[in-house]
């Protein structure tokens, strides 16, 4: 049975904003990346999963329970990180974490303390004076501290510096090892690339692609940048590879496989410099994002 099931939900805000006929399922232990540009409907979908709003049409269930009507029961199983930071600012960070722990009927605070240590968070100050990054860490602690089997994280790394983003990836990988089901929305491709099993792409409220990470990686092109000494050689080479782009002496080439062939071909020329890198997810998805334009 799928842990999270979103079937044909529509929530229309008017002006073509909202989500339209969105469906996806998540199995136990799966980490799903929910990708899309700002305003594409990621948060709207998550709000319905959290039971903050009812879909106009369709159904959202977690562990077979309706997310709106059984929200209190669903929440026992879910750790949630909101996309917008809105704490009770009259409390200190530590007070807020303890308060939330009590609201969640938690008795054991060891996990929360472990998380604070891991994220190098000193939460004693008033939350009013905290930076965005610190508040985000508090949110992460609250989402993870109860050790729930399901995690729903809305843009979890926003506000974190690169070092902390890496720590967060580690946190997700550990949670994945522990068998948790994780839904993570993001518009940062690297964090998704390093953590997710599968990716759902949403654009303007419609799902445009659902792909497994293996699938994506398999179909991934290599990006080559080749600097020639002589422009005429560059022209000759580009005629051999019509899909390449030439900028004077520099050739940009996207290629899947055929590495040997390329090296053999290149050996015939006088090469100044050579760079190769895998195509980023961003480039891979550009045609989904940029499409229809």
């Amino acid at each position: 049975m799928s842990v999270i099931k979103v079937s044909h939900i529509t929530k229309d805000y008017g002006n073509q904003r909202g989500v339209f006929d969105v469906s996806f399922e998540m199995n136990e232990g799966e980490v799903l990346g929910f990708l899309g540009p700002n305003g594409s409907g990621k948060t709207t979908t998550i709000r319905q999963l959290m039971g903050f709003m009812k879909p106009d049409q369709g159904e959202v269930t977690i562990l077979g329970m309706d997310c709106f009507n059984d929200s209190a029961k669903v929440q026992e199983k879910v750790g949630y990180l909101p996309g917008e930071i809105a704490f009770m600012e009259d409390m200190s960070g530590l007070e807020f974490i303890r308060f939330m722990a009590k609201m969640k009927n938690m008795k054991d605070m060891s996990k929360a303390e472990e998380l604070m240590k891991f994220l190098e968070l000193d939460a004693r100050g008033k939350m009013k004076r905290m930076s965005k990054g610190m508040k985000q860490k508090i949110g992460i602690v609250i989402a993870f501290m109860q050790d729930t089997p399901i995690l729903i994280l809305d843009e979890p790394t926003s506000g974190l510096d690169p070092l902390m983003q890496n720590k967060f990836v580690e946190l997700i990988q550990n949670a994945k090892k522990a068998g948790k089901t994780i839904l993570m929305s993001s518009h940062i491709f690297e964090e998704v690339e390093n953590t997710c099993d599968r990716v759902v792409m949403i654009k303007e409220g419609h799902i445009v692609a659902t792909k497994t990470m293996d699938d994506l990686k398999k179909n991934r092109l290599k990006h080559y940048e080749i600097h020639f000494f002589d422009e005429s050689e560059a022209i000759a080479f580009s005629q051999k590879y019509p899909q390449s782009q030439r900028d004077k002496k520099i050739i940009h080439l996207m290629l899947k496989g055929h590495t040997n062939q390329l090296l053999q071909d290149l050996s015939e020329y006088d090469i100044d410099d050579f760079n190769a890198r895998p195509q980023s997810l961003e480039e891979l998805f550009l045609h989904y994002y940029g499409g229809e334009q």
Binding site: R47, M50, F52, K54, S71, V78, P82, A86, K104
Partner: protein, 265 residues
Amino acid sequence: MSMVLFKREWKSNYKIFLIFIAIMTLYESIIVAMYDPKLGESLNMMAESMPQLFAAFGMTDPGLTLLDFLTNYLYGFILIIIPLVYIMIMCHRLMARYIDKGSMAYLLATPHKRSDIFITQLCVLLSGVIGLIVYSVVLILGCSSMMFHESIDIAKFLMTNVGLLGVHFFFASFCYLTACSFNEVKLSIGIGAGVGVISILIQMLSQVSDKIEFLKYFTPLTLFDAKGLQVYDQQSLLCMAGLFALAVICIVIGCMNFSKRDLPL
């Protein structure tokens, strides 16, 4: 009902409660001290010289006993407006700002039903209102027994305060209903507070002149008839019961609204 949330709200809001206690202490002790059985006559003369101004604040007949005096000078205006302001502030702090700013998301991301959160915050609100009125009763009784030999008729005095409680339960439930039902503070608090303030203004107007007395049918404050309650007039008692009933209706509608609606979190 969540005790954890109840405690946290009181801890976060007790200072506001204390400020209102201080304001009420100031006003009530001064008004009680102003009472002088002999002064009654000169006050009556003042009231005769500018009847409309006095009437606007519900001070039509200064009367002779301490209870009459207090009913005129406290229960007509001061004890209506002060708790009402407290109610407006608390509705904002307990509900409207959480919805507007989005921190309600954290409260709902816990294994509590929306109705639990609703009831808990309502209990914080109503316990504060009860606290203010109980304090005011104790303060007035204390002040008057310290300053004067004449004692207040306790039963009548308490009856007046039950009526006052009815008014504020109604205002509190109504403000809370609007606070739960709208997303933006300007609507959620604006409507609730607006209705409260307009109710008071309409009552003031309706008392000024017989020509516009009909206005009294447009304000819930007419249901609170202190002088009628003091003589156990049946109609006044029914009106008071009506206030409590309206409060219950507002609470039920509010709870249903809040449990079913989409929240912008």
